[in-house]
């Protein structure tokens, strides 16, 4: 029988995969993609809690909708900055960005 615990473990797995990508990827776009995986993991948690713990007042689902909105905004701004820096350096590899001391 699949229960709340299964969904939470799935969320934890996805979160950790995203975290690994965010920590190791050299390409800025790839880091943004990994962060999206982390946000999806959080949404699985929120929707699962909402389904199993507060089925009558689904604040978790509301929270998930807002998280998706924020993620979209973050990606828009993040990509804009990626484009700006590509125009400047002709690269989106994070290892190349060493003008400031990281």
């Amino acid at each position: 029988m699949i229960g709340l615990g299964h969904f939470l473990v799935l969320g934890a797995l996805l979160f950790c995969i995203g975290l690994y990508g965010a920590l190791t990827k050299r390409n800025a776009v790839a880091v943004l993609m990994s962060i999206e995986l982390m946000l999806n993991a959080v949404n699985i948690n929120l929707v699962a809690f909402s389904r199993y713990l507060t089925p009558d007042y689904i604040a978790g689902q509301v929270f998930a909708v807002f998280t998706i909105i924020v993620a979209a905004a973050e990606v828009a701004v993040g990509l804009a900055i990626v484009i700006a820096i590509y125009r400047d350096r002709l690269s989106v590899e994070l290892d190349d960005f060493d003008w400031l001391k990281w």
Partner: protein, 169 residues
Amino acid sequence: MSDAVFTVAFYVFSAVTVLAALGVVLKKNLVHSALLLILAFVGVAGIYVLLQADFIAAVQILVYAGAVAILVAFGVMLTKRGDIRESNLANRQKWPALFVVAGVFAVIYALLGQTNWGPLAAAGPEDSVGILATLMLTDFVVPFETAAILLTVAMLGAIVIAKEVKNSK
């Protein structure tokens, strides 16, 4: 939905999500990563359907697939110099990062495993879209309006930053 079908569906969607996500972070070609990311999002949408969150599932596909389509386009465009097959490499922190992440997962798994969440509901709401709509426009009206402003800011910011700088001076 019977228990057996539910169980099978859960494992199928989970496997799709996790394998696709692993592909996103492990593939060396950025285009492959981006395509697998879409697959991972679709898998998550399936999970939402199982959790009786129909609206979120629809939003997941609409918004994320849209956002990802753009990500793919830009990812390809921005790495067009050099070899696309080597466009998404890992940095030198691969092993330390793996160690850290494995630790984080172990901690999360151990702590969640010991948690007693209290009584669990047998079923979700019948009409989750209706409840969601009411909640967003009544109790959660302040974040709703803030989100509207946030999207305005994101649009404005993206234009300001990404627009070409004139080389007049």
